[in-house]
């Protein structure tokens, strides 16, 4: 077993592009669920909105790349508005149904033959992120090492921009959540009728929250497609949303840094487990394949088993996150 390789991979995963993308999406979800209590089960839909917003406008409509990015945010904002209008007056569990339904609608539509001329159907869209990489000060195809971390030049550039965005957005969220605006959101999370009785237009605040968090989700989507240089409908499936939930709950909903902490823990763990299993000594590996069917395919599936099991256990035993205090948990069980 090549422990050097496994550790290199795991370290690189700790702050890698996936962490940035998922942390950004989780920051958005944190605004929704962690601060406002909105059960958004369609965060991946906002990522898709961002991704297609830029992919389609640049690749098919021939827009300027940067205009495309702005369009992606606006598009996600409008989507949030349209989703919120009918549903934000409803009960929490209804919102969850509608958001998951909406995100699936987006995926089905994007992959459909009808939309193929625009979205590229199942094959999606690619080669549109050129202008982004043109600005890279790093050689795209060269490997760069920093201590235990090692990435391709193009990823270093993505990481530099991604982390800057992530930190800036996180600080912005921290700022607004400390303001009276954020206080109102948290009040709505605790009890929206109480907030209403105190003169707060709950519907309006929820809408702002949905749009704000949705647009942050779009940033994640944009970054993801830039990093992958392609947009494909099926990468935006509900399991991604649930992974984001897992990440948020690992870090603890309603805490400013939890998305970053959660995403980092999650990806390090997944990459470590997968690479370790792939690198098992052949004899052991063969035994495991025979006894518990540990094929390459199934190693890839383990990730989802971990997500599912993790979400189940976290929601049951540590809904306040792995660093949250027992006291907070007690407060949850009024």
């Amino acid at each position: 077993m090549d422990w050097g390789f496994i550790l290199e991979r795991s370290f690189s995963a700790m702050i890698g592009p996936e962490v940035v993308v998922y942390a950004l999406a989780a920051v958005g979800l944190n605004v929704h669920f962690g601060y406002t209590g909105l059960m958004n089960f369609g965060q991946v839909g906002f990522m898709a909105a961002g991704a297609y917003g830029v992919g389609v406008s640049v690749f098919w409509l021939g827009w300027n790349f940067w205009v495309g990015i702005v369009f992606a945010f606006v598009y996600a904002g409008v989507l949030a508005l349209l989703l919120g209008l009918p549903t934000l007056r409803l009960r929490a569990d209804y919102l969850s149904l509608v958001t998951i339904a909406a995100s699936e609608t987006i995926r089905l539509l994007a992959r459909s033959r009808v939309m193929q001329p625009i979205t590229g159907g199942v094959e999606g869209v690619n080669q549109f992120a050129g202008p982004f990489y043109d600005l890279s000060p790093f050689e795209l195809g060269k490997f760069y090492s920093f201590g235990p971390f090692k990435y391709l030049g193009r990823d270093v550039w993505v990481l530099l921009v991604g982390w800057t965005l992530l930190i800036m957005i996180t600080l912005m969220v921290r700022q607004v959540m400390r303001s009276p605006w954020g206080r109102t959101l948290r009040a709505i999370r605790e009890d929206e009728d109480a907030a209403r009785a105190l003169g707060k237009n709950v519907y309006f605040y929820k809408m702002q929250s949905l749009m704000f968090g949705g647009m942050i989700g779009a940033v994640a989507g944009v970054l993801q497609v830039i990093q992958k240089s392609s947009v494909q409908a099926d990468t935006f499936n509900p399991v991604i949303t649930f992974t984001i939930w897992t990440i948020l709950i690992i870090g603890g909903p309603g805490r400013v840094w939890s998305p970053i902490v959660g995403a980092s823990i999650y990806w390090t763990l997944i990459v470590f487990v997968e690479n370790t299993l792939r690198q098992l000594p052949p004899g052991l590996r063969a035994t495991l394949e025979d006894s518990i069917q540990l094929s390459d395919f199934n190693i890839a599936m383990l990730r989802f088993i971990l997500v599912g099991g993790g979400l189940l256990l976290l929601a049951r035993f540590r809904p306040q996150g792995i660093f949250g205090s027992r006291e907070e948990m007690a407060l949850d069980r009024r």
Binding site: V98, V122, I249, I292, Q293, V307, L311, L312
Partner: protein, 448 residues
């Protein structure tokens, strides 16, 4: 009471052991059939009379990987070694005379094979004489009747799945996302019993004569799968949700738990069952009977009749039996039911068993065409649409909602692409919430 609960635990343990054993063991039996990935498709066109014609003998290939020839059902599959993008080419020279690609430019498609499923590609074909007046054939009485029938069929199956979801919501307030996996569980159980028999799945038992070693008759398999559905429902409640309720986990946290559970189960299924599509031993492809121009296979007809009988029985059971009335009482007003001496936890347990069994039964029917590891997840939103439309928590509402959703989905193909028909359900769901948040038959919640 203590004896009672010891029994309960014992049954739960056995149920889980049998369940997992079956899955694990059978996976072993599958080990030879390598879990490879592939690009699949069905070549077909619609002739002038509106009948589907499958095209055999067409060659398709992926450079450096391999090729295939379509079989008599127009089906082809080319295995690929790893997930990724593949360019697949249809050899137009091998198409029958008169049949051409709808878009001659697209004899070459790119298929993105992901980690967990075969990727389907579609080469739309036409014949010179298939250019009939589309609008006429679209809106013919025959077509509409056919679609309505398909819709009712889907609606009936959905209803069976939906009632459990609705009852669980009614009695516990929980929106159970893992209901999808109860459906899949039914499909997979029916498949295993059907192919491997009662104990044949435990490897070394497979030498025993049927029904122990080999597969059992599909009808028996269905029955067994339904029972296993009840067992799984019982176990999930007993091991996961009852303790969660007891320690005061909030409903929203429980809902997140069901999502975790859903993904956990779904990927355990794919882990042990594999991502390939399979079919039951019997009834997989049947020739349809025609009646007044409406086609229905006898298998579907039988399944529909069974569904109707079961749904009627459920309706009667909920209204006339003690257990059923207790379920309704708990759904109506839990506190009142509790104070009038009903053992609420017991009722909830029964609801899980009953809901799990119904979901599994619907799963066996949904699996007629293909048995897939995520069959339930694919239709979960339809079930939710049905339940929400009818009003969360009312079982009769679930039935009405399911029929509406089933028919609406099929009718929608009159005007939109078939591929998008499930979207209709999602739109119905959103509209339903918009116009009548409490559902057609539901009632409003209280404030203050």
């Amino acid at each position: 009471m203590p004896t009672n609960s010891r029994w309960a635990r014992a049954i739960a343990t056995i149920g889980l052991a049998v369940g997992l054993g079956v899955t694990a063991g059978s996976g072993q039996a599958q080990a030879q059939v390598s879990d490879d990935l592939g690009v699949i498709g069905t070549l077909q066109y619609t002739d002038a009379t509106g009948t589907k014609v499958f095209v055999a003998g067409v060659e398709l290939s992926i450079a450096d990987v391999g090729g295939a020839t379509s079989d008599k059902d127009g089906f082809f599959r080319i295995s690929v070694p790893v997930p990724g993008e593949y360019s697949i080419t249809l050899n137009t020279a091998t198409l029958p005379v008169g049949v051409t690609l709808k878009d001659p430019e697209r004899a070459n498609l790119v298929a993105l094979v992901s980690e967990n499923a075969d990727q389907r590609v579609i080469f739309p074909l036409i014949t010179a004489d298939s250019v009939v007046s589309v609008s006429e054939s679209n809106f013919s009485v025959r077509r509409i009747s056919q679609l309505t029938l398909e819709g009712l069929k889907l609606g009936l199956y959905l209803a069976m799945a939906a009632i459990g979801l609705s009852l669980i919501f009614g009695t516990t307030g929980l929106v159970n996302f893992a209901h999808a996996e109860l459906i899949t569980w039914g499909t997979l159980m029916a498949y295993f019993f059907n192919i491997y028999g009662l104990v044949g799945t435990f490897g070394f038992f497979s030498v025993l004569p049927p029904p122990f070693g080999g597969g059992v008759n599909f009808i028996v398999a269905t029955l067994l799968a339904t029972i296993m559905g009840g067992v799984l429902g019982f176990v999930l409640n007993r091991v996961i949700f009852r303790p969660a309720r007891a320690s005061g986990v909030s409903l929203l946290a429980q809902m997140v738990m069901t999502i975790g559970l859903s993904i956990l189960l779904r990927y355990l299924f794919v882990y042990f069952f594999g991502s390939r599509y399979r079919v039951y031993n019997e009834y997989a492809s049947q020739r349809a009977n025609e009646f007044l121009g409406i086609e229905l296979t006898s298998r579907d007809a039988a399944a529909m009749v069974v569904s109707v009988i079961i749904l009627i029985a459920v309706g009667i059971g909920l209204n006339l039996t003690r257990t059923g009335r207790a379920m309704r009482a708990v759904s109506d007003n839990r506190d009142l039911a509790e104070s009038s001496g009903i053992n609420v936890e017991r009722v909830i347990s029964q609801v899980w068993i009953f809901g799990g069994a119904l979901a599994a039964l619907s799963g066996t029917f949904f699996g007629f065409d293909t048995v897939k590891w995520d069959i339930g997840a694919r239709i979960l939103l339809l079930v939710f649409a049905a339940v929400t439309l009818g009003g969360l928590g009312t079982s009769f509402g679930a039935l009405v909602g399911a029929l509406i959703v089933g028919v609406a989905i099929n009718w929608s193909t009159l005007v939109i692409d078939t591929e998008l028909k499930n979207m209709t359900a999602l739109i119905v769901l959103i509209l339903a919430l918009l116009l009548r948040p409490q559902g057609i038959l539901g009632k409003k919640q209280r404030i203050g």
